[in-house]
C-alpha cells in the first residue's frame, strides 16, 4: 500500500499542537518511582532459576562432561548439555549453538546449564559439573588468524563443508569511480592506520529472560529483545529444532538499556527454552553484572587502513579504505556492520572515486555484535582523523577543508543515496560559529607568530599547577607548559529514514478509538528507553487533534502488536512514526467522514483539533470528538467504531551485489566540535567544551532529542577516552565497572546540542532518525583536538591517559 502523501502546504496549514513540544517521557513516572517492571522484577508461579556453565578454555575439545553430582542435588530439576538436548543453531550464519558440542571456541561458550528451585542451588549445581577438556591451538589476533596455517576456529562451515581459513566468506566490497585515476589526479595524499577495540553497551539492566510453556507447548518468552518480531521468528525456528509444535509469543518487560546489544538472540534464551521445556516450568535466566560484560556481544573491533587524496584546491579526489574486523568465534550482526560502514566511506563528503573492502575474521575471542552506530563510529574515526591529516598536507584549515567538500541537498552519492534534505553545511557552520572557530585559529596563529620572535609557546598556556613559577624553573622541567588546549571537529552521516538491511524495513500499527476519545495504538516497534512510545503518542495525538493523555501506546507483545523490523538503525521515529501517522490519518478520515454525516455538513470544512471536531463552515456545529464517536457507535443504523491498520514499508533498496542503491528514506548529518585540554605530564584529556550539531529533520520532541544527543555524546566520549574491554588471550580481564572505566555522572561533560531542522520530505512531520548519530563523530573530533593541542596523532582508541602519555613520551623522546 502506498502511503498517503502529505504535502508541505498541509503541514504548514496549521500550527502543531503536540509535535515539536518537549513532552516528558511517557514512562518517566513509573521509572523514577520504581514501579516499572524490569526482567529483574518478573516472577511467575513455580518458576525455576537457570544458570549456565561457561568454558574455562579459549579453544579445546570437550572430552567428557560429568553431570551426575549436579543432578543429585535436591532442588535441581534439570541439567542440560549438548549431549542430552536437540541441537539449536542460531546467529547470522547459523554457526553458533545454544549448547556447545565436542568443542569450545571462546571462553564464553555455554557447555552446560541447570534449572533449580533457587539461584543458589543452580549455582551449586553448576559448580558440581565436571568437564574434561583437551586444549587445542587458539588464535586471538585477526591478522594472525588470516595467516596460512593458523588454527581454524571452525573446521567446517555451517553447511558442513571444510573451511580453508578463518576468513568469513562475506562480500563486503564496494567501489565507485576510479580510485587509481583519483590518486593520479591528487596533489596531496594522506594515509593512516586506525584501530578500535572492544567496547560494550553497559546496559544498566542486565540481560535475562523467562521462558514459559503452556500445556499445549506454546511458548511465552518474556524478553528484553530490541527485535520482538525477528526474535519471535528465531524462537519459532528453535521450537522446530526442538520438535515442539507450539506457537511463540514474545512479551517485553521494561528494558534497562539496549544500544544494539539486544539486536540478536542469545544462547541463554535458547537455553532457557530448553530448560523450561524439559522441566515443564517457567525458567528464568538473569545475568549478573560480570556475565553481562562477559556473555553479551560487544562492538566489533576494527583495524582500518585509509588513503585519501585531494587536488591542489583541496577537493577530495579519492578515498580508499580496507579493514579487518575481529569477528570472534561466532557470527552475529557485527559481521554485517561493514555494509553500514560503506555509507560514510562512500558518501560522507563529496568524493567520486571510492573503494571499500572489509574482511571479517574468526578468532577465539568473544564474538561481536551490533552497537549504537553499527560500525560507523569506527570508520568515521578513520575518515575524519585522516581528513585532518590530509587538510594539513594541503595547507588548508580543517573547517575550510570540510566546507569545501561538504555534502549538499538534492544530490546522489556514489553509492546511489538520494540525498534530498541535507544539513551538512548548516551543521558545520553552526559548530564553527558557536566555537568562534576563526577567532580561535587566528589567536593561535598570532601566538605562533609571537613564538617565532621568542615571546610565546606553541600552545595555549592555561592555568596549571606550575603557573606562577619563574620561567627558569619551568625550563628546567621542560620548555613547554603542562597543560595545552586545542580544538577539533568531525562530521557524520547516518541513515535517518530507516535502513533496508533486512528484506523488510517495515512496521505495522493498529489503532482503535473508544467511545470516550481514548485511543489505543498497537505498534510493532519497541522502547528501550529512547522514548518511542512518547513519540508515537505525539504523532497520533497531533493527527487526531487530541491531547497526548488520550493516547495509549501498546508495544512489546507479539500476540497483539503487528510486525516490525526492530529498534535499530535509528529507524523507529521515522518508520514506526510514519506507520502510526498513516494509521492515524485513516482513523482521522473515518471520524471526519462520519462527522460530516452526523453534523450534516461538508467533510471539507471539518477538522480535528483541540479535542473537537471543528466546523469551519458553521462554527455552531463544532462539537467534542467523543460526541461524534458515540453517535457513530450508538447510531440507530450503520453503527461503527473507528479503527485502522497500516503497514509502512519504506520504498528503499535492499543493497546487494554492487551495494548501490538508496537504502534509506532520509540521511542524517551532523558535526561535533570540541575543545580539549591535554595534560602533557599525565596524559589526561579534559573536555573543555563540546558542541554537537545535528540535522534532525524536525524535532518531534526536542526534550527527548536533546537527551539522545547528550547520551550519545557522553557514550562517545567514554568510548574515545576511557572505555575498553581488556582481553588476555581471549579472557576478559575487566568484567566489572571497577576496571571497565565507564564514565560516571561526575565525569559527564556539558554537551551543547544544536538542532538543525531541515525537514525530510518523507519523514513523519519532517523528522529524521537520531538514535545513533550522537556518538558517531565523537572520537575523531577529540583526536583532532588532541592533535591541535600537542601535535600528536592518536590512531588507536581509547585515548586513555596511559596511551596518551606513552604517545607523548615517544614523541618528545622521553
Amino acid at each position: 500500500m502506498n502511503p498517503p502523501v502529505i504535502t508541505e502546504q498541509e503541514r504548514a496549514q496549521k500550527e502543531l499542537a503536540v509535535v515539536g513540544k518537549g513532552i516528558p517521557k511517557a514512562d518517566a513516572g513509573v521509572k523514577v518511582t520504581g514501579q516499572a517492571q524490569y526482567m529483574h522484577d518478573l516472577e511467575l508461579p513455580n518458576m525455576l532459576y537457570g544458570k549456565i556453565l561457561y568454558s574455562d578454555r579459549a579453544s579445546a575439545r570437550i572430552v567428557s562432561i560429568d553431570t551426575s553430582e549436579a543432578e543429585r542435588i535436591p532442588g535441581v530439576k534439570a541439567v542440560l548439555t549438548a549431549y542430552n538436548t536437540p541441537e539449536i543453531r542460531f546467529g547470522f550464519l547459523k554457526d553458533n549453538m545454544a549448547l556447545k558440542k565436542d568443542r569450545v571456541r571462546q571462553y564464553r561458550d555455554e557447555v552446560a546449564a541447570v534449572a533449580a528451585t533457587t539461584p543458589e542451588l543452580a549455582e551449586a549445581a553448576i559448580k558440581a559439573i565436571v568437564v574434561h577438556y583437551e586444549d587445542l591451538p587458539a588464535v586471538f589476533d585477526p591478522e594472525e588468524a588470516m595467516q596460512e596455517g593458523a588454527p581454524l576456529v571452525h573446521e567446517l562451515n555451517p553447511k558442513g563443508e571444510p573451511n580453508k581459513d578463518n576468513r568469513l566468506r562475506l562480500p563486503w566490497k564496494f567501489s565507485a569511480g576510479d580510485v587509481e585515476a583519483g590518486e593520479a589526479a591528487s596533489a596531496f595524499i594522506a594515509e593512516g592506520e586506525y584501530e578500535t577495540g572492544w567496547v560494550t553497551h553497559c546496559c544498566l539492566g542486565t540481560a535475562g529472560c523467562v521462558a514459559a510453556f503452556d500445556p499445549d507447548d506454546n511458548l511465552t518468552m518474556y524478553s528484553i529483545t530490541q527485535i520482538p518480531s525477528l526474535a519471535k521468528a528465531d524462537f519459532q525456528e528453535a521450537m522446530k529444532a526442538m520438535g515442539v509444535r507450539g506457537k511463540v509469543r514474545v512479551v517485553l518487560t521494561t528494558l534497562g538499556g539496549g544500544f544494539g546489544s539486544k539486536l540478536d538472540t542469545y544462547a541463554f534464551e535458547y537455553i532457557a527454552m530448553l530448560l523450561a521445556h524439559r522441566t515443564k516450568k517457567p525458567v528464568k535466566i538473569l545475568f549478573d553484572r560480570e556475565e553481562e560484560f562477559f556473555a553479551t556481544s560487544p562492538r566489533q573491533p576494527t583495524r582500518i587502513k585509509i588513503r585519501q587524496g585531494c587536488d591542489a584546491e583541496g577537493r577530495l579526489t579519492f578515498r580508499d579504505i580496507s579493514m579487518v574486523l575481529d569477528n570472534g568465534a561466532y557470527t552475529s550482526w557485527g559481521a554485517t556492520t561493514p555494509t553500514v560502514m560503506m555509507m560514510p566511506s562512500s558518501s560522507l563528503y563529496q568524493v567520486e572515486n571510492v573503494r571499500f573492502r572489509a574482511t571479517c575474521v574468526y578468532t577465539n575471542n568473544t564474538y561481536a555484535q551490533a552497537m549504537r552506530g553499527y560500525g560507523t563510529p569506527q570508520v568515521t574515526f578513520a575518515i575524519e582523523s585522516n581528513l585532518d591529516e590530509l587538510a594539513e598536507k594541503a595547507g588548508i584549515e580543517g573547517y575550510e577543508f570540510r566546507l569545501k567538500n561538504a555534502n549538499l541537498p538534492d544530490t546522489v552519492t556514489p553509492q546511489g543515496f538520494k540525498v534530498d534534505s541535507c544539513g551538512h553545511v548548516p551543521c558545520l557552520e553552526a559548530v564553527a560559529e558557536r566555537m568562534d572557530w576563526a577567532g580561535y585559529r587566528a589567536a593561535k596563529a598570532a601566538r605562533l607568530a609571537g613564538d617565532a620572535t621568542g615571546a610565546g609557546g606553541d600552545a595555549t598556556l592555561v592555568e596549571s599547577d606550575t603557573a606562577g613559577v619563574p620561567p627558569v624553573a619551568q625550563a628546567a622541567w621542560t620548555e613547554l607548559p603542562d597543560k595545552v588546549r586545542g580544538i577539533g571537529m568531525a562530521c557524520l552521516l547516518h541513515v535517518g529514514g530507516g535502513a533496508k538491511i533486512y528484506k523488510s524495513d517495515g512496521c505495522g500499527t493498529l489503532i482503535k478509538v473508544d467511545d470516550l476519545g481514548y485511543v489505543d495504538v498497537y505498534s510493532g516497534s519497541m522502547d528501550m528507553g529512547q522514548g518511542l512510545d512518547t513519540i508515537l503518542r505525539q504523532i497520533v495525538a497531533e493527527t487526531l487533534g487530541l491531547g497526548v493523555d488520550r493516547i495509549n501506546v501498546v508495544i512489546g507483545d507479539t500476540d497483539v502488536c503487528p510486525w516490525d523490523a526492530g529498534a535499530h538503525a535509528s529507524r523507529s521515529t521515522f518508520v514506526a512514526g510514519n506507520s502510526a501517522l498513516y494509521a492515524a490519518q485513516q482513523v482521522r478520515e473515518q471520524i471526519l467522514n462520519s462527522a460530516a454525516d452526523i453534523l450534516d455538513t461538508p467533510r471539507d470544512g471539518l477538522d480535528l483539533t483541540g479535542g473537537m471536531v471543528v466546523c469551519a463552515d458553521d462554527p455552531e456545529k463544532t462539537t467534542k470528538i467523543e460526541k461524534v464517536l458515540r453517535k457513530a457507535h450508538f447510531a440507530s443504523a450503520g453503527n461503527t467504531m473507528f479503527m485502522a491498520a497500516y503497514f509502512y514499508e519504506p520504498p528503499t533498496d535492499l543493497l546487494a551485489g554492487d551495494f548501490k542503491g538508496n537504502y534509506s528514506m532520509a540521511y542524517a548529518w551532523g558535526c561535533h566540535g570540541v575543545e580539549v585540554e591535554v595534560d602533557r605530564r599525565t596524559g589526561q584529556i579534559d573536555i573543555v567544551r563540546y558542541i554537537a550539531a545535528h540535522d534532525v529533520g524536525k524535532a518531534i520532541n526536542p526534550l527527548l532529542l536533546r537527551g539522545q544527543i547528550l547520551g550519545g555524546g557522553l557514550q562517545g566520549i567514554g568510548w574515545a577516552l576511557a572505555e575498553e574491554m581488556i582481553f588476555d588471550e581471549g579472557k576478559l580481564l575487566n568484567p566489572n565497572f571497577r576496571d571497565y572505566k565507564m564514565l560516571t555522572a561526575l565525569d559527564s561533560v556539558d554537551v551543547e546540542p544544536i538542532l538543525v531542522e531541515d525537514p525530510a520530505a518523507a519523514g513523519p512531520y519532517g523528522a529524521k532518525g537520531i538514535g545513533e548519530p550522537g556518538l558517531v563523530p565523537t572520537a575523531p573530533a577529540i583526536a583532532n583536538a588532541i592533535y591541535d593541542a600537542v601535535g600528536i596523532r592518536l590512531r588507536k582508541l581509547p585515548m586513555k591517559p596511559e596511551m596518551v602519555l606513552a604517545a607523548i613520551m615517544e614523541a618528545e623522546g622521553r
Partner: protein, 328 residues
C-alpha cells in the same frame, strides 16, 4: 556464593579467638564493601566458612585527637574520617585520602581497618569464578603470577616480588606520610605496633591468623608541616588510583627540615621515596627542587612491560604533590 557461619563479636578478644579457631577458614568483616564482593565473585579457591562481624564491638570506631596525637579505631568509617574536624585541621591529607575513596555510599560503610586490609584489585586475582572459573595465582597459593606475561598496565613499578599487585589503599598512603602506626591485636591479648607500610608484604599482609587491625595512631604534626595528597585516576570518582602521592614537608625559614614522600598504587605497599626525601631536606623547595626530587623518587622504578608509562606519570604526580604541599 558459598554459605558460611556468621558470628557477631562483642569484644576484640572474642573476635581474635574466633578468627584463630583451628580448622576454620575465618575472615573478619566490618563494612563488607570489599569482602562481600570478593565472596560473591568467588575469587577464593577456599572460601571462608566463618565470618566474624566486628561492627558489634563497641567503641572500636572512636576518633580521638589530643596533644599526644590522633587515635582512630579500626571501625571508624571513611565518611567519618573525611569529615572529622580535628583530622581536617591537623592531618588534612588523611581526611583527603579517605574522601578520595570510592563513592559516598561506600564511604558510609567502609571502615579504616577494611581500607587498610582490603584485597588487591589485580584483575587476575579478582577474576570471578562464575565466568569459567577463577584464575589461580601466586597470591592465592598457586604456582605463578599470570600478570607477568599478561596485562600489567595497573601493576607495580616498585618492590614487586612474585606478585605484582599494588596496594589499593588510599588511606595507607596518607598515613605513611604522617608516620602512622598500626595497632594489631591477636589471640590471648597479643598486641604489636607497626609503621603502616610495614603491614604489607608482596603477597599480602603480616597479619597472623587471629590478628586484627584495631586502631591507627598518628603523631601530632610538626607546626610548620605542609602536606598534599594527590590521586590520579582514569575517571573522576569511584576509581582506584593509577598513582597517588602523599607529600608532607616541614619548612623552617624557607628551608626544608623534614619531608615525607609516599607513592601509592606503585607497589605492594605504600612506597616511601627515602632518597627523594633526603634530597629535599636542607634546601629551599621550589620547582627545581621538586623536579629533582621527583626524578630521584622514580630513579629506582622497575616497570613491567605493560606499565612503563607509570614512571613519568608518577614523577609528574610527585612533583605536583611537592608543589601542592607548599600551597597547603
Amino acid at each position: 556464593m558459598r554459605s558460611f557461619r556468621h558470628v557477631r563479636a562483642t569484644t576484640v578478644a572474642e573476635a581474635c579467638a574466633l578468627l584463630a579457631e583451628p580448622g576454620t577458614r575465618a575472615r573478619a568483616n566490618a563494612g563488607g564493601s570489599d569482602l562481600l564482593g570478593a565472596l560473591k565473585d568467588g575469587i577464593y579457591p577456599e572460601p571462608p566458612d566463618l565470618l566474624v562481624d566486628l561492627k558489634t564491638i563497641p567503641g572500636l570506631d572512636a576518633i580521638e585527637a589530643d596533644e599526644a596525637g590522633l587515635r582512630v579505631g579500626a571501625l571508624a568509617r571513611l565518611a567519618d574520617i573525611a569529615r572529622s574536624e580535628p583530622i581536617r585541621a591537623h592531618w588534612p591529607i588523611f581526611s583527603q585520602a579517605a574522601q578520595a575513596v570510592a563513592s559516598p555510599q561506600i564511604r558510609n560503610v567502609a571502615t579504616l581497618g577494611g581500607n587498610l586490609c582490603q584485597e588487591v584489585r589485580c584483575w587476575y586475582f579478582r577474576y570471578p569464578a562464575g565466568l569459567g572459573g577463577s584464575i589461580d595465582c601466586l597470591r592465592k597459593g598457586g604456582p605463578r603470577c599470570p600478570a607477568v606475561k599478561g596485562d600489567t598496565r595497573y601493576h607495580a613499578i616498585f618492590e614487586g616480588r612474585g606478585c605484582f599487585a599494588v596496594c589499593p589503599s588510599d588511606t595507607a598512603v596518607a598515613l605513611a606520610a604522617l608516620d602512622a602506626i598500626v595497632v594489631l591485636e591477636g589471640p590471648g591479648g597479643a598486641r604489636r605496633e607497626l609503621p603502616v607500610q610495614d603491614v604489607y608484604t608482596p603477597l599480602g599482609t603480616v597479619l597472623e591468623p587471629g590478628e586484627l587491625v584495631t586502631a591507627v595512631r598518628v603523631p601530632p604534626p610538626a607546626e610548620e608541616a605542609r602536606s598534599a595528597f594527590l590521586k590520579f585516576t582514569v575517571r573522576e570518582p569511584i576509581d582506584f588510583a593509577v598513582v597517588s602521592v602523599a607529600a608532607s614537608i616541614t619548612l623552617r625559614d624557607g628551608v626544608c627540615t623534614d619531608a615525607r614522600l609516599v607513592l601509592g598504587a606503585v607497589g605492594p605497599r605504600p612506597y616511601r621515596a627515602l632518597e627523594a626525601e633526603a634530597r629535599l631536606i636542607g634546601g629551599p623547595i621550589d620547582e627545581r627542587a621538586a623536579v629533582e626530587a621527583a626524578e630521584v623518587a622514580l630513579a629506582g622504578a622497575k616497570p613491567l612491560r605493560g606499565n612503563a608509562y607509570k614512571v613519568p606519570l608518577a614523577r609528574s604526580i610527585v612533583m605536583r604533590a611537592i608543589l601542592a604541599a607548599l600551597e597547603g
